[in-house]
């Protein structure tokens, strides 16, 4: 099993949702009250639940693009025992068919990759895919001690320089480093957990728990409480769209303002990355120099 744990857990389902108060049921109830559609004549409960799922996915996407910390996970993996078609080392993110740890469909994007066990530890450099394949050459001396990665499809592709022993690099008389059985630690952003959309009698997310009893952890939405107002506004807008009613200006404004804030955060983050890159080009760097593992 290349992926061994996510946040130390062995099942995606064990990840705890982010809200402290808002359950799926409470969000649905609030949105239906605000749109005056509590009586399910035109808007059915299932519709509202789908609206909630769609809105959570959208907000979580913005938050992860802005690299807000909420959906960050650390994934522990080991290098696959065979080489990738590209001739590179890799980690299969579908985890060899173990659906409990199938990160390929659960990832938003991968942020950093580290090697974190054994005597050799360190950050791996993110390279472009063509860079990885280009440098995968027996004559590569300059990057003999480089460890680089890229995320492509269901795989995390890894390049280890010719001086590092791995699944692909074997047969040399001696290597400076050996990462064959090292843990690869991946800092990634995940997708949010969503309502399972099962009927309330079998659902573990949508239980219509009355406020007098304590909801179980799976009933909470996977969104920080401070963004739940935005979620409710978005669900409200979807409901009104569904019944062909104009969305009130105030609701539209709230949604636009909140998403504009998130977009600004994304832009600021992007600018930071660009500045870092420019500094790097001029030799001013906070990044690990080439060759470091």
């Amino acid at each position: 099993m290349p992926i061994t744990t996510i946040n130390g857990l062995t099942d995606i389902a064990q990840i705890r949702p982010l809200s402290k108060f808002w359950t799926y049921y409470r969000i649905a109830s609030e949105a239906q009250v605000l749109t005056n559609t509590v009586n399910n004549e035109k808007v059915q409960e299932t519709n509202v639940r789908y609206h909630i799922n769609a809105a959570i996915s959208h907000i979580a996407d913005l938050l992860s693009l802005a690299m807000e910390p909420w959906y960050g996970v650390n994934i522990k993996a080991t290098i696959e025992a065979s080489a990738h078609d590209f001739g590179l080392d890799y980690v299969d993110l579908t985890s060899g068919g173990n659906t409990a740890l199938d990160m390929a469909r659960f990832l938003h994007h991968i942020e950093r990759v580290n090697i974190a066990s054994g005597t050799r530890k360190g950050n791996m450099t993110k390279w472009d895919l063509s860079m990885l394949t280009q440098q995968k050459s027996d004559w590569n001396v300059q990057h003999a001690q480089t460890a680089a990665w890229t995320h492509f499809g269901n795989d995390l592709l890894l390049l280890f320089g010719n001086d590092i022993e791995s699944t692909v690099n074997t047969g040399a008389a001696s290597y400076s480093y050996d990462v064959t059985s090292s843990d690869i630690v991946i800092a990634a952003y995940r997708q949010p957990l969503l309502d399972d959309m099962l009927v309330p009698s079998t659902s573990i997310t949508y239980l219509r728990t009355k406020d007098s009893s304590a909801p179980t952890i799976t009933e909470f939405v996977d969104l920080p409480d401070k963004y739940c107002k935005l979620l409710i506004d978005m669900v409200q807008a979807s409901i009104l769209q569904q019944i062909n009613v104009d969305v009130p200006k105030a609701v539209e404004q709230n949604i636009n303002q909140a998403t504009a804030q998130l977009t600004q955060m994304i832009e600021a983050k992007r600018q930071f990355e660009v500045n870092s890159k420019q500094g790097f080009d001029r030799g001013i760097t906070r990044l690990t120099p080439p060759g470091a593992v």
Partner: protein
């Protein structure tokens, strides 16, 4: 208003005479209802029955037609407002078969106002009422979003005092619950109230319509009677009376 009262009122309004005297020459209606409905000079009581019944249907027809363009929910609440005492509620236990149930209701329904279910904790589950077109749309295989349970009133063969209600519940949510079905049904025809020994429905029974609508029923009955007799002198005045806004809704 009782049936014999309506007959008396209609006869008098038409200038007809009705013999309600008992054996002692007293007005029998003051003491007790008549054992049989006397005929008038102009109109037989069976004709008056027909006119009264047609007038009742006309009043219902006006109400239904006025709410027809409205959203079903609003229409239901308007009808419950206009005729609060005419609304009947039937209860049935939900026993789903393949996510659906066909219920036979012992009434010929004019308008279904609301349907809801209750479980043993008295939690209420409102059941939207849909028409045939909407039902087709809700059963659309191309849509994976199963709707909440909904009800559909199906027509039955003419001549049966039964209405068929279909309930669909793809979530199996309301199975075993008690369904409460509220509706107005067709009024009872006064012509059936022949046998005065029938304790359920006789000359002394209330006219089977919301009491506040009776003035309008009598006006229409009078119109039909005069039309039948082609009494053109009285007609224009009566037509004015029916059209006048004060008469709307009784």
């Amino acid at each position: 208003m009782r049936i014999w009262e309506a007959h008396k009122a209609l006869s008098l309004a038409l200038g007809d005479t009705v013999n309600f005297l008992d054996a002692n020459g007293l007005d029998a209606t003051i003491i007790s209802p008549p054992n049989s409905m006397p005929d008038g000079v102009w109109l037989l009581h069976s004709l008056r029955n027909s006119q009264i019944y047609r007038a009742m249907l006309k009043v219902y027809n006006e109400i239904i037609m006025s709410v027809a363009p409205l959203d079903r929910q609003i229409a239901g609440s308007v009808i419950e407002k206009i005729m609060p005492n005419t609304i009947l509620t039937e209860t049935q236990t939900i026993a789903l078969n393949n996510s659906a149930q066909t219920m036979a209701l012992d009434s010929k329904i004019i308008y279904l106002t609301k349907v809801y279910c209750r479980n043993e904790n008295n939690d209420v589950y409102p059941i939207p009422i849909k028409n045939g077109i909407e039902v087709n749309a809700l059963l659309n295989t191309r849509n994976v979003q199963n709707p909440d349970a909904f009800a559909y009133l199906f027509n039955v063969e003419l001549g049966y005092d039964v209405s068929i209600l279909h309930i669909y519940d793809f979530k199996n949510e309301i199975d075993g619950m008690t369904a409460y079905i509220s509706f107005i049904k067709y009024p009872r025809n006064p012509a059936i109230a022949i046998d005065n020994s029938n304790p359920d429905y006789n000359w002394n029974s209330e006219l089977d319509i919301e009491e506040i609508l009776i003035p309008k029923v009598l006006s229409y009955a009078k119109l039909y009677a005069l039309q039948e007799h082609q009494d053109m002198e009285l007609l224009p005045a009566l037509q004015m009376e029916l059209i006048s806004p004060n008469q709307q809704g009784g």
